[in-house]
Amino acid sequence: MTQIFQLYVFILAGFIGFFVISKVPPLLHTPLMSATNAISGISLVGAIVAAGGQYGKVSTILGFIAVICAATNVTAGFLITDRMLAMFGGPKKTDGAK
């Protein structure tokens, strides 16, 4: 049953993603991609369990590398998104928008 529930979650989240993201204006397509990229760095959660659980030495090493990669992905992803979004939507910029 668990996997049926997981499929529910996946499909519903996919729908939400589809409807929400369809409305993102082309202006913000690059930040959109870096944002979804940062968010899917959530694999970090899986990497943490792999690195911290006692699954044996090889698994710990693989998990450790996974934590580094995912943490890089998350940090860089959110920071670059923020940097880009800071260029849009500042109060002085919105004046010029029609």
Binding site: T2, G17, N37, K57, F64, I65, V67, G77, L79, G96
Partner: protein
Amino acid sequence: MSAGLYAVLATATEGAGPSGVSDYIAQASYLVASILFILGLRSLTRPADARLGMQQAAFGMLFAVIGTLLNHEIITYQWIIIGLVIGAAAGYPMAMKIQMTAMPQFIAFSHAFGAIAATLVGIVEYRHAYGAAGDALQPGLSHGTAAALGFEVLFGALTVTGSFMAFGKLQELITGRPITFKGQNALNLLLMAVAFGSFSWLVMHPEAAWAFYAMVGLALFLGISMVLPIGGGDMPVVVSLLNSYAGLAAAATGFAIGNNVLIIAGALEGAGGFILSMMMSKAMNRSFGNVIFGAFGAAPTSSAKKDGVAKESKTISTEDAALQMAYAGSVVIIPGYGMAVAQAQHVCRELMELIEKKGGDVKYAIHPVAGRMPGHLNVILSEAGIDYGTLLTDVDDANRVLQTADVAIIIGANDIVNPDAEEDKGSPLYGMPIFRPWTAKTCYVIKRGKGTGFSGVENPLFFRDNTLMLYGDAKSVLGSLVKEVKALDEGH
């Protein structure tokens, strides 16, 4: 949307079979994170709210990480902490130093890293079930979990090498031209078939470790061979597609380890990448199936010399061009990747400000596939301090403005202004939505040399009566235009 959220709410607590208070806390943190992720993406529909929304999403990520650290399965923390510190220390300078022009390769790099994590987690999970001697062994995997792990490493490994290849091409470590050889598509199809065969075998016989590792190897190879034949101009589709695959890998990880926040975040990215790749392929007039099967790199190589008569385009001096631009009432600038390469966005803003000071109105027409990733030129121009209100991101809107414009200035763009896309049924570009700069009174083209565009197709726009060419590096041509316009002022 609320119905979806309730369903998420209802199922989030079912997922991992919580076995203690800490697990309830973890699940609650995942739920909060999922909601903040969705709201963060929603905030991107309004540029003014987007920054705050994504900052909240980042907090969601923090909650999820803290929630996970409380997980009862975690016994040692040292490697986690060291890994987090290294990752954060590596990510911070990368994100703060990268130039907006290099954004596509940065995103490709970031996709690769996320995918490495997903693939390694998949391998650890598999080893956990059927590990080498000495490792903790669990009872075998169910067919469903085997399928999830299979998907995870398939999409993960494919994204790792595919993204590194895309990175190499974008960074010009590898040639940006398509690399093709005979039987390439057949080879790719064969690889896919074998990978799919291994996947099916794994689902039926989860203990078959050879099938699992064969799949990892095949997917790694497939990532390379699929991106190899794709040229630089098609990169917006590739980067979007890799975005989608990276999301699917994360979602499959969620299925495999029974974690809903991974499923949700992965589904969101999968959907986002899917939408963008559809939009990009539509903007290039290629079918989505064409995109999925990677056959879209076969750029036409014919030089398309149709009538054999060597036509001459008219050139103009920057001095004369500056005079006309300075007193134009309405100007539309159409930038392409060539502007980004020449780093000409700052001097372009200078020119724009000078024209505006003289009472002219300046707008930018941004094609969906201009640049090397979706929306690439928007961030480049915004970084240069150009108000995003002046960016026309819809092709039809831009064409309406062009009809009444005095001057159109094309900077380092080619295929997106090729009239053949509308007029010549034999052209490989036929059907692609394009800008019509020739409808403006005068059309200036700033171009590095006389060569063809990315697609290798001749551009008849350059030979039209109202088209004037300014050959040279975009930055230096714009620089001398700025100088000439300023000189006009001093002459008065």
